[in-house]
Symmetry: C2
Subunit: 378 residues, 2 copies
C-alpha cells in the first residue's frame, strides 16, 4: 500500500516556551485538551474554576499546575499565552471574550458557542484583538482514525469527496451523574449544537468546504420525558458551497453493552472510492480495537489501524500558530463556520418528538405536496 | 444467546399446485423473483418478452418453462395464478393493470410504479379486481440479514425502534452495459424511486409504521454529465406516523475494488439497543462473507451470520396469500405506501447537482434564516 499513516512530530517547543492555563472545568474534555497540549510541548501553568472540588480533581491529573484564587489572577498572568476552557456551553463565549480582551488566545471545548449573537461578538473580538478563538472539535482533532482519513483524502485516495455521513451516538449513563445544565436547552445549545458540532466540522474539513448551508434538521426527545427540554436525538442535512453534501445523526442511545461510550462512525464517499471510520470501537470484533479505517478504492478493500500511528498533529500546530500568528492548525473562519452551522441547525430544527415528551402532543399531518415541513418549528 | 435465526419452512405447496408465469424481462431481478418462488414450491409455467434474446437467456436458467408467443397467450392461461414481471419501471404499472384485469395476481420488481397517477390506477384496480399488486423489495425480502433483523426486532431485542438509516450504494459498471432506459428519468422514475424504494420499504417495516411522510430529499448528478437526466446520488429523510425517523442514501459510486455490487447497510436504532446489517459484504474482512448482523444491547455486542440460516419466508407466504386471499407476506397498503413515498421523495427532491452536469449552473445561495430550501426544485 502506498497509503500509510504519517506520524505527527513530537513536542514542537521546549519546556517553558509556551505556557497556557485552564479555566472552566465543567466538561471533562478539559483533561483531553490540556493533556494534548502538554504532549505537544506546552507548559500548563495555572488552573481556575469556582468549584474547588473540580480544581482538586484537575490538579491530581496535572500536579505541576497551580490553582489561581480567581479568574482575574489567571487572566492577568503575563506568561499565559493561551487559555483552555470547558465551561458550560452557553458560557464559553463570555469566557473567550474575557480571555481575548486580556490579550490571550482562547481554546474552548466544543461547541464553541450557542447563539448567533455570541458568534457575532466572538467574530468582532477576534477582529479587534487579533487573538484566536479556537475549538476542540475532538472527534476529528483528537482521533487518529479521523486524522488518517484526512491524510487519505489529501493523497487523492477516494477522488473528489461528494458526501459525508456521520453517526455520533453517545452514552447517557446514569442520569444522576449528569449536572443540572446537561438537561437545559439554553445551557447546552441543544443536541445539534453540542455533539452535532463535531459532525459539521468534520464535513467541512473532509469535503474541503469553506461555506455550507443547513438544508434540513430535526431534533427529538424520544425517551426522556422527565427532561422535556432535552434532545436525545438529532439529525441534519447540509450542502456545501462546492456541492458536497452531508448527513449526520447524533443521539444519546448507546446501550450499556457497548464496550465504549459510542459507536462513532464517519463514512466519506468520493468519486473514486470511500472511507469508513470506526472511531472508538470496531463493533463486535474481538479484541477491543479503536481507530479502524477502511478504504475501498478501485483496487480493493483495505483495512488499517490508525491507533498509535498518526498522533494528533493539531495541537502542536496550534501552539506554533499562537507563537507565529499563522493558521496551520485550523483557520478562524473554519472554526466559526462550523459553529454558525450548528447553531442554525438547532435553531431551525423540526421537532419530531412523538407523544407528549415535550409536554404537548404532536399531530401527524398528511403528506404535503410540496415536501415542505415547518410544523413545530422552534 | 436467546436470539437465533429462525429457518423458513421449505416448499409450501406441492408441484403444480401454484403455477405462475413471467412477463417483462428488462431487469435481471426477474431471475431472483422466479427462483425464489420456485424454491417455495411454485411452478414456473410460461415466459413472455418481446425480445427473443431475453427469453432465450431466461429459458437457460428455467428450462422447464415454455415461451409464449405473445403476452395475451400468457395472460389468458387459466392455470397461471400470478404473473411476475420486471419491466422497465415506468411500464410496470401498465403491465400490472393488464395482469389484474385478467384475474391474476401481480408480482413486480421494485420500484412498483413511477408516478402518483399510476399509484391511483393500481389502487383502483386492486379494489375492483380483488387481485394483488405485490412488489419485490429485494433488499429486505431476499436478504437473510434483513429477515433476521425483523426477527430480532419482533423479539424485542432493541426495544422500540426510533430511527433507521439505510445506505444503498450500487455499482454502475461499464456504462455501455446499461440499457438506454437506465439513463432516462421518465423510465426509471429517478434514483429515489428506483433504488430508494428498498430503503423506504425497510424503514416502514422495521419501524412498524403504516404511514409516513417525506420531510426532505435530494438528488444529484455528481459525476455523469454525459447523462444529464441521470441521478447518481440521492438521499431522503422521513418521519413515521408513530414518530420513528429515517434517513437513507443511495448512489452509484461503488468502486471497482469492492468484492460485490454494493456495501449495503442498514442501521436500526432502538431505545434499548441497535442493529447493523452488513448485507452483501463485511467490508475489509477476509474471507468474503455477506449477511453479517451485529446486535448491541444492554448485555454486549453480538455478531451473527444470517447466511444460510433464515431462508426467505416472504415467497412461501406470498404463494399462500394468493391461494388463501390472506396478507401474511405483505399487506397491500404497505406495498403501496412505500411506492407512494418514494415517488414523493423523487418528485420533491431538491436538485443539488453541482457545476453544469444537468446543463445549467447551480447558484450557491447564502444560508437562509428559515432553513427552507426550495431552489432548483423539480
Amino acid at each position: 500500500m502506498e497509503f500509510e499513516p504519517k506520524k505527527a512530530q513530537g513536542p514542537v517547543v521546549k519546556p517553558g516556551e509556551f505556557a497556557f492555563s485552564a479555566a472552566g472545568l465543567d466538561h471533562g474534555h478539559i483533561v483531553g485538551m490540556c493533556a494534548a497540549l502538554v504532549e505537544a510541548g506546552a507548559t500548563l501553568k495555572t488552573v481556575y474554576d469556582p468549584d474547588p472540588a473540580k480544581v482538586e480533581g484537575f490538579l491530581k491529573r496535572f500536579p505541576t499546575a497551580r490553582a489561581a484564587d480567581c479568574l482575574e489572577r489567571l487572566l492577568d498572568d503575563p506568561e499565559t499565552r493561551l487559555v483552555a476552557g470547558a465551561a458550560v456551553p452557553s458560557e464559553r463565549c463570555a469566557l473567550g471574550l474575557e480571555v481575548m480582551a486580556h490579550g490571550k488566545d482562547y481554546f474552548t471545548d466544543k461547541t464553541p458557542l450557542t447563539t448567533l449573537a455570541q458568534l457575532e461578538a466572538a467574530k468582532e473580538a477576534v477582529k479587534r484583538t487579533g487573538r484566536k478563538y479556537m475549538c476542540y472539535y475532538s472527534e476529528r482533532l483528537h482521533s487518529e482514525s479521523a486524522e488518517f482519513a484526512g491524510q487519505l483524502i489529501a493523497a487523492g485516495a477516494i477522488g473528489r469527496v461528494i458526501h459525508v455521513d456521520g453517526f455520533g451516538p453517545h452514552r447517557i449513563g446514569p442520569l444522576s451523574g449528569r449536572p443540572g445544565w446537561f438537561w437545559k436547552r439554553e445551557k447546552t445549545g441543544g443536541i445539534l449544537s453540542d455533539i452535532g458540532s463535531h459532525q459539521i466540522e468534520q464535513f467541512l474539513f473532509y469535503a474541503g468546504e469553506e461555506d455550507a448551508r443547513v438544508q434540513f434538521s430535526r431534533a427529538a426527545n424520544y425517551h426522556n420525558p422527565e427532561y422535556p427540554e432535552f434532545d436525545d436525538f438529532g439529525d441534519c442535512a447540509l450542502v456545501g458551497k462546492n456541492g458536497a453534501t452531508s448527513y449526520f445523526r447524533v443521539d444519546w442511545f448507546t446501550p450499556a453493552g457497548l464496550r465504549t461510550w459510542g459507536d462513532g462512525r464517519t463514512f466519506i464517499l468520493g468519486t473514486e472510492g470511500y472511507i469508513e471510520l470506526r472511531k472508538y470501537v470496531d463493533v463486535g470484533v474481538e479484541p477491543y480495537a479503536a481507530d479502524c479505517v477502511i478504504l475501498v478504492d478501485g483496487r480493493g478493500e483495505h483495512r488499517f489501524s490508525a491507533r498509535g500511528k498518526t498522533g494528533f498533529p493539531f495541537f502542536g500546530k496550534l501552539i506554533l500558530d499562537c507563537l507565529n500568528r499563522t493558521e496551520n492548525a485550523m483557520t478562524q473562519p473554519h472554526c466559526f463556520k462550523a459553529a454558525e452551522l450548528c447553531v442554525q441547525a438547532q435553531d431551525n430544527a423540526v421537532d419530531i418528538t412523538p407523544g407528549e415528551n415535550r409536554g404537548w402532543k404532536r399531530d401527524f399531518s398528511p403528506p404535503s405536496d410540496s415536501g415542505e415541513e415547518k410544523e413545530n418549528m422552534r
